[in-house]
Assembly symmetry: C2
Homo-oligomer: 390 residues x 2
């Protein structure tokens, strides 16, 4: 058995400023970091086959405990052979704890010191999550990375609210750790809370590192505070975390958010943006975003991007994608989700290469200038010679 | 230039009773017949990438003139390089004439001797189709096979209504032929009308063969008359058509309809059933149909079928598909449409092989007995060893 299978470990390969390039070794394979995790909420990355997800270069995906416990149910997933077998994904899977979704989706929720009782947003049925049950459910799902069950208050919040919430989350983190069953190559991440308060973040980080986890997440950001406040919070939070463990910024974000997160020492990200945008005609590109429903694409025989090798860009024009979205054809979301995830993965590969080469500052400047430049002109990006139809 | 590229021709390979195995040679390649054409109404086979369509073994697909003329518009398709380049499909494409859809979808339609004026079901805008404009539009779409513009009355209809409609369609067929621009490997099919009236069908077939087309379609069936009446109409209609040309039964049907059509001398079929059913959780199998929303599949770790090599069956369980449909996930329709089209193509390959081997009667008996037998028991089809996740 190789070391990667006996212990979940993150190992650094190179640094550039605060940014780190490394590898996360897990029971389900080794993945390069920084990495972006496509979101597979209900056991599927929406509008994507797993072959398509693999084709984008994704190394690790995310599942949602809240959704999966309600439908099809954790025990059912276990009987299907776990989330990997069910979804047809052999790489690592990280599951969130359900804490965030209970707060954002669950109805009639009631928080107490022991956990949260709530009603399903699907059928109104009553459920309860505690640090112990969330951890057990993630075990039944066979998550490679289990997240601690936490409470995540919306921002802005008073310092008092943030403090009591953080303290509750830290007690829950200890209980989550207690409930976690160690298995070779599996791991559990603690979640630093404390909003935008430096002192609270420091106390939270201390509490978690005292317990000791296989990785550390930064929670409670990207909940309405804006990019500037998120970045300034990261500036003082990541240095509080161990240098030799993976760091995960939860629920983030735009390409520019990812770049800023990496520059501040984050290794892992997840967000619904590229998949959700793919279903609403919004394309991410090297030149910012495009809305393919816009009439200006109706007669444009160029692909979305000259630099992309996804199925949409290698075989289809903007005009065709425009038509598919106007006609509400499922193929529109299928092709554009693929494109957006391919872009996110390519972006992370390029950022990682720049860290390894020690050229991240120049790369970051280039990326930001390109995003700001707007869509390619017809001169910069002329009508391509389409390859023969296979 | 090969012969197949200079002239559209159907050539027989073997017969078995009335059933025929052959090849249709076109500018866009040669396809074996009998064949089922997946429907790509608006320039996409719904919920399928073209790579997936190719993987099912489909050889020729269908496009809808009515839908495409309204959105994105024939001229726009032409500027996109034609339907093949737009959709990423190098094989032959047959387009219907729009006549049937004008009658079933168009609003405020007004029929005259010259053509039909109607309002778009999308935005209410006013349009007109005539034999000439329908033929021109199909030319702009770059259809490999152009269909004559016809009028298709719903059944039941009075003999008088059927007669006047058939006579109008025959006059329109002559005008369609006049408007058709011959190109190497491209062709045009006439459409036999006349409802279930033997005399009318005979007069229609005579009118069309006197004009002379590259193939002959049987229209005006599968519009509510029932399978028995459809088959009895085929029994006297196909013998009226030339032995050395392809025959196409429009808008048909279930697997049992296809088998019965082939037994009666039909070479080509199209129908929305496998694709539509794929979006509504209905699976076609060797053992009849299954509704994957049904609770009995919720815990079934077997694939849909033990005999299918589609993506759904080779990688996923019924339990997972059940979950996807219950959760309204796009991947459900994606996987099940793939499965259904794969089943239809496999069925046609098996039927064709039986014609070539001279064993169609036995094969037909086997197929019908299997459809009637119902879903596999757990003994017949035990829980499989799933292959490793790639």
């Amino acid at each position: 058995m190789t070391q990667s299978a006996t212990k979940m470990q993150w190992k650094a390969e190179a640094c550039c400023g605060q940014a780190r390039a490394g590898h996360l070794h897990t029971a389900h394979g080794t993945i390069p970091t920084p990495t972006f995790m496509p979101v597979g909420t209900a056991g599927t990355v929406k509008a994507m086959t797993m072959d398509a997800v693999r084709a984008t270069g994704a190394g690790i995906i995310l599942g949602n405990t809240y959704h999966l416990m309600l439908r099809p149910g954790a025990e059912r997933v276990r009987k299907m052979g776990g989330l990997h077998r069910m979804m047809d994904w052999s790489g690592p899977i990280l599951t969130d704890s359900g804490g965030f979704q209970v707060m954002s989706l669950g109805a009639l929720r009631k928080l107490d010191q022991d956990g949260v009782t709530f009603n399903s947003h699907i059928d109104g049925s009553k459920h309860r999550l505690t640090p112990e049950s969330s951890t057990d459910i993630q075990h039944a799902l066979d998550a490679t990375i289990t997240m601690c069950f936490d409470e995540c208050p919306a921002l802005p919040a008073t310092p008092e609210r943030l403090e009591s919430s953080m303290e509750l989350s830290m007690r829950w983190a200890a209980r989550s750790r207690e409930a976690f069953v160690q298995r070779p190559g599996y791991g559990q991440f603690g979640i630093v809370q404390g909003g935008t308060e430096r002192d609270l973040r420091a106390r939270s980080a201390k509490a978690l590192t005292d317990i000791g986890f296989e990785g550390y997440a930064i929670g409670g950001l990207a909940v309405g505070e804006g990019q500037e406040l998120m970045f300034s919070t990261l500036d003082f939070t990541t240095p509080l975390l161990p240098q030799d463990h993976a760091r995960y910024l939860m629920g983030v974000g735009t390409p520019d958010d990812l770049l800023g997160g990496v520059e501040r020492g984050v290794d892992m990200f997840d967000c619904v943006m590229p998949t959700r945008a793919g279903r609403t005609a919004r394309a991410y590109t090297e030149r910012g975003t495009l809305n393919l429903r816009n009439a200006r694409h109706a007669g444009d025989n160029r692909p979305i991007s000259p630099d992309c090798d996804c199925l949409a860009c290698s075989r289809h024009s903007r005009a065709y994608l425009h038509h598919l979205f106007r006609a509400n054809e499922i193929l529109g979301p299928m092709l554009l989700t693929w494109h957006n995830l391919a872009y996110y993965q390519r972006l992370m590969r390029e950022i990682r290469a720049a860290i390894v080469n020690g050229t991240l500052p120049q790369k970051a400047e280039e990326l930001r200038a390109s995003w700001a430049a707007g869509d390619w002109s017809q001169d910069e990006f002329p009508q391509p010679d389409w390859p023969p139809v296979p």
